[in-house]
Amino acid sequence: MAKRLVVKLDLCIGCRACEAACRSRFKGEARVRYGEVSETVSVPMPCRHCEEPLCAAACPFKVIVRDEQGGIVRQASFHCVGCRSCALACPFGVIDTNLLRDVTQKCSLCSDRAEGPRCATTCPTGALQFVEEEKLAEKEVGVGFAARSVHGRRL
């Protein structure tokens, strides 16, 4: 069953443990990025693994492909030449334009790990969660969650 990575904005405390976990696995550069909505609100920016990935469309060597079964958009071969087309094409800006070992860094949802991505496992507050697609509706940001809190979260 396909699983997706979701963000619960309310729970993010901006500690950047997701980045550290990714960096300690991939030695040097984190593949999950991090943004700030305001001084007190930050948000992890993992790859969305789009249904029609623009990064894959932009790749001149078809290095990035979508794995239809798992729903993972991955860098499938070693033929990346570091042209950064994928980074420019990504509408969410999650692929870093900085190259590591002359290759762009693309999240693979830690497909080598049975329990799911390291960033979601390590998130101290559960802001990043790895859930099944069927349960996605109830896990979405703001649905049934922020609505429960009295003042919501000041942005």
Binding site: I13, C15, V41, R148
Partner: protein, 541 residues
């Protein structure tokens, strides 16, 4: 591939993790751990890099040159024989296990010296100064709390402990989170009520709350309002909220963010007692007080009355000898232990010791007793402290003295006495401990946060540079304009030695311990620009 289950040594939350070693040491997640359920903070995630870090020290260094262990021990014995017990000092610091601290006490006893010093700025003031009647919280109580009061930046001190706090905050519509801090941190963004106090005056806001909760203690709430800058209504409202149902009080006993450590600890506990709440003090390490204060040690060293100094505990990146080069002029023998090679050649002897992850130990976490298992054999050339001390003298473990419990009346009196030291300066620099990575080698702390009015006055914007000059040093920082810090206040991270050197070593009046107090500084726009201009040389092309 070998996998060892151990407990993270970098704060006292007691997070379990699995360290695997295939080609490099790597953290994996213990999903069934009761405290953290596999979760780790950035420090925990990068803890394994210490084990095979390229900067590990593998041999003793004497005045920056490699020597054998025999020569090193000879130098140490000479120091012990030459200096009288009064001319010797034993300093211990963070990086020692609880058993090793007891060994340091035993060594000082064997040498016969009265100069036993805790060289760490954040001794365990919460548990050393325990208030009578305070109830320690369990994780279940934190999760079940209806009202939570957080003092200081708890989320940054122990990010994994933020999990249960947020579970409680979002469990029910009626649950409340109150935050007392001088900076609008991310946890303040989650709060229902945020009491933004003037830097270093958290204790007075808390005292005001105690005054509203118990009128019988004779607390002048008006004075607390004036000192902390928080309105009387807010204090009374916060106190009222604390009375609603199961309540949890968490207080960050944190390096750099705590100005009056003893009062901070006592008065946070007092709020908990008066509100009938459970309490946890969040700190980084348990390092008990020595027999004399650090300031007294420093005074003795500078006056030349110390001949030999034995310094045990993390030399880099956590403690001070590197910050005190002047010690070399006055002290004849210096013996220190270290995990890492010092950045510059240090005078005296530096002995390699195993890192936290290579030692077997048991210790106290916030939630109970934890045990740590070595993930690897001691680094080549490193010797455990017990063996080093055993070679020097016959040492037995000695229990550090515990400070007596304080009563509510004493806590109030101490806090009221601290109000005399509050004064206003134009620019105040605050030390902020950020949770990212370990020590200096994960994040470069070259960012300074200041408010928009201050930035406009200095004529700087995001990404430009300012020069900050304090009484003890100066440095350049990249500006980050933010609404999180109030006007007249700037904050920098204090993991880096360079940043810590900007704060004069201040002394806490009650415990005699060193604190990183808000420091008055001069700030000016720097000529340096954010992006160094690239000079194109025609010939090179």
């Amino acid at each position: 591939m070998k996998a060892v289950r151990t407990t993270c040594p970098f704060c006292r939350n007691g997070c379990e993790s699995i360290v695997t070693s295939d080609y490099q040491f790597r953290m994996e997640y213990a999903l069934d751990a009761p405290v953290n359920k596999g979760r780790l903070c950035p420090r925990g995630n990068s803890a394994s890099i210490v084990v095979d870090h390229p900067k590990r020290l593998a041999y003793p260094l004497l005045d920056g040159k490699e020597v054998s262990w025999d020569q090193a021990l000879q130098y140490s014995r000479e120091a012990m024989a030459t200096a009288t017990p009064e001319e010797t000092a034993v300093v211990y610091s963070r990086g020692l296990t609880e058993a090793e601290v007891r060994l340091a006490w035993g060594f000082a006893h064997a040498v016969g010296t009265p100069n036993l010093v805790c060289g760490y700025v954040e001794p365990d003031n919460c548990f050393q100064y325990r208030l009578a009647g305070v109830k320690a919280a369990t994780i279940e109580q934190v999760q079940a709390a209806r009202t939570t009061l957080l003092v200081g930046d708890v989320f940054n001190t122990s990010p994994v402990a933020a999990g249960p706090v947020l579970e409680a905050r979002y469990a029910d519509r009626k649950n409340r989170l109150i935050v007392v801090d001088s900076i609008r941190t991310r946890q303040a963004g989650q709060a229902h009520m945020f009491l933004q106090v003037r830097p270093g005056t958290e204790v007075f806001a808390l005292l005001g709350m105690v005054g509203s909760l118990d009128k019988g203690l004779g607390i002048d709430v008006e004075q607390c309002v004036a000192l902390s800058g928080v309105s009387g209504k807010q204090l009374a409202d916060a106190a009222q909220m604390l009375l609603g149902g199961p309540t949890f009080v968490g207080s960050a006993m944190h390096l750099g963010r705590v100005y009056h450590p003893v009062q901070h600890s006592l008065v946070s506990q007092l709020v908990a007692v008066k509100a009938g709440a459970t309490f946890t003090g969040f700190g980084e390490a348990r390092v008990p007080f020595g027999k004399i204060g650090f300031e007294e040690f420093r005074r003795q060293a500078e006056s030349g009355s110390l001949k030999a100094v034995f310094w045990f505990g993390g030399l880099y990146p956590y403690s001070y000898p590197e910050l005190m080069p002047e010690l070399a002029d006055h002290v004849q023998f210096r013996v220190a232990t270290s995990i890492f090679r010092p950045e510059s050649a240090l005078p005296g002897l530096v002995l390699p010791v195993p890192s936290e992850l290579e030692k077997e130990s048991t210790g106290q976490s916030y939630w109970g007793v934890v045990s740590r298992h070595p993930v690897a054999a001691a680094f080549s050339g490193a010797r455990p402290l017990a063996r080093i001390l055993g070679d020097l003298a016959s040492v037995s473990e000695e229990e550090p003295a515990a400070a007596p419990e304080k009563t509510a009346a004493e806590a109030v009196k101490l806090t009221q006495a601290a109000s005399a030291g509050v004064d206003t300066v134009e620019f105040v620099l605050l030390g902020e401990k950020r949770a990212s990575g370990i020590g200096g080698f994960y994040d470069v702390e070259d960012e300074i946060r200041l408010s928009a009015p201050d930035a406009a006055r200095l004529g700087v914007g995001d990404g430009e540079y300012v020069q900050v000059e304090g009484a003890t040093g100066k440095a350049e920082f990249e500006v980050r304009v933010t609404a999180a810090v109030p006007k007249g206040v700037m904050s920098i991270g204090v993991n880096a030695h360079r940043n810590r050197a900007l704060f004069p070593m201040a002394k806490d009046t009650v415990s005699g311990q060193t604190v990183i107090a808000p420091a008055p500084v001069q700030v000016a726009k720097s000529t340096r620009t954010s992006e160094p201009a690239v000079e194109m040389i025609a010939e090179a092309w």
